[in-house]
């Protein structure tokens, strides 16, 4: 049987960060990846904070376009309210290129990466995992890192965590269209091919979070919606995406361009800190811990942060308590813990609808110079919404 110091399951951002950390310390590290190559099973927008990714994996982060404009469109019952931001350091990227690159950085540090290999089960001796059984044989290690993504089968089979439920998960579907560089520039008004945008949409009843990202010569669009809502209303996710594209006018913009890829992904809206993060010598990180920022949709930064910590935990032999404590100290991870309350309010009931209606009413009052309207809206929402928002802002510090 092959023997390693540390075996990492999954060559996504969390797994590669963990492998990089452990291999850089001189440990014998094996990464197994179920896809034909790193990134080939992974779905996201994808927008990343380039400076943060560089701080762990080094320069030469592969990216598509700089996100010059982050546009937010809030749809209440009538027309959308649009807000534009001009962020720094955000870029769009393709997951296949990004994940392959991260994995190669871990490989260059000395980690061994084997793809087309699926982890099936851990074998245990009491509280200590001994080996990992894969479809290609069994490997033993001193510790194991589970960076296995949102469908955290090994973590669940090992009894470390339970499955997601319909209340704390979002179904997303995404389409990528091939669009010539010049056409992207003219459709969205970009001065050149390095400028891009990220566009977020929020609609209520049913609650839908939509997105658009511009890559170099393609555009991705998609929607996410809570699974319980889709199931209760028997809404098919692909139909919701079609309706979204029509309602926002994006289908007209993309008309005539060919669809290059259709994909789907479940986004966890629950998990850390309300779950176990490790057991004995097994450490969970990334999506398997539910680490996606519910406000920014960023899962890649917390994946990298938690992966690095999992690598440290395996090196130092952290107990579950210490591993959890270290995660709470990390700003990338702890902010998700702080957002959980707002997140669950958004996922249940019609809080999202109330927020959006309040914001769009306020802005419309303001735009039409209706000062008494602003006052009225504030008074109307004084009791229920504003205290929630204030407590959220206070907790966010």
């Amino acid at each position: 049987m092959l023997n390693y110091d540390i075996v990492v399951v999954g060559a996504g951002p969390a797994g590669s960060a963990a492998a990089l950390k452990a291999a850089s310390a001189g440990k014998k590290v094996l990464v197994i990846e179920r896809g034909p190559e790193p990134g080939s099973k992974n779905v996201s927008g994808a927008m990343i904070r380039k400076d943060f990714v560089s701080s762990v994996f080094g320069d030469s982060v592969p990216f598509e376009r700089k996100v010059d404009t982050l546009k937010l469109s809030l749809y209440d019952k009538e027309s959308p309210v649009n807000i534009d931001f001009h962020p720094n350091q955000l870029v769009t990227t393709g997951r296949l290129k990004l994940d392959k690159w991260m994995s190669s950085v871990a490989e260059n540090a000395g980690a061994m990466v084997i793809s087309k290999t699926t982890g099936l089960n851990l074998t245990w001796d009491g509280d200590k995992a001994k080996t990992l059984i894969t479809d290609r044989g069994e490997v033993s290690a001193k510790s194991f890192i589970l960076a296995e993504g949102v469908n955290a089968l090994l973590s669940m089979k090992s009894g470390i965590r339970g499955d997601l439920n319909t209340e704390n998960s979002v179904q997303t579907v995404k389409e990528v269209y091939s669009v010539k560089k010049e056409d992207i520039n003219s459709i969205f008004g970009f001065p050149d091919e390095s400028t891009g945008m990220s566009w977020r949409f929020v609609m209520t009843d049913p609650l839908v979070a939509g997105f658009l990202y511009t890559y170099k010569d393609s555009v991705s669009v998609g929607i996410g919606s809570p699974i319980n809502q889709l199931v209760e209303r028997k809404i098919r996710p692909e139909k919701l995406l079609d309706d979204f594209l029509d309602k926002t006018g994006l289908s007209a913009k993309l008309k005539g361009y060919s669809l290059r890829e259709y994909s789907a992904k479940v986004i966890p809206e629950g998990g850390f800190p309300n779950m176990n993060v490790s057991k004995g010598n097994v450490y969970i990180c990334g999506d398997a811990l539910g680490l996606v920022d519910p406000l920014t949709f960023d899962g890649i930064s917390p994946a990298i942060a938690s992966g690095t910590l999992a690598g440290t935990a395996a090196l130092e032999g952290f107990t579950p308590d210490i591993y959890k404590y270290e995660m709470m100290k990390n700003t990338e991870i702890s902010k998700i813990a702080k957002e959980r309350k707002l997140e669950s309010e958004f996922m249940s009931g019609n809080k999202a609808g109330e927020y959006i209606n309040m914001i769009s009413t306020l802005l419309k009052n303001w735009a039409s110079g209706d000062l008494s309207g602003i006052r009225g809206t504030m008074i109307e929402n004084y009791k229920n919404i504003i205290p929630d928002m204030l407590s959220f802002v206070i907790n966010m510090r």
Partner: protein, 95 residues
Amino acid sequence: MRLEEKLYTLRYKKDEESHLSINDVDKCIECEKENGNPMPCISICPANVYSWEDNKIVIGYENCVECGACRIACPYENIHWEYPKFGKGIALRYG
């Protein structure tokens, strides 16, 4: 565009055995009575993997995009969901 045409855009390597299965087929009959057709697994799946034919669930696992939503949506925790083995299943280019 029809869903079947969307699914054609995916690179895919067929696994010989299904990575999806039903634990107890009687539960599906119960579920159909309770929820009507389409049941949760059918309506949440973005790839038309599930269909209800002759009082049983038929699984077209070749269509699966490996999102996992069916397993989460099943009210009876009745879907046995594994990953395809040996690197099979979908291979995304954009992701």
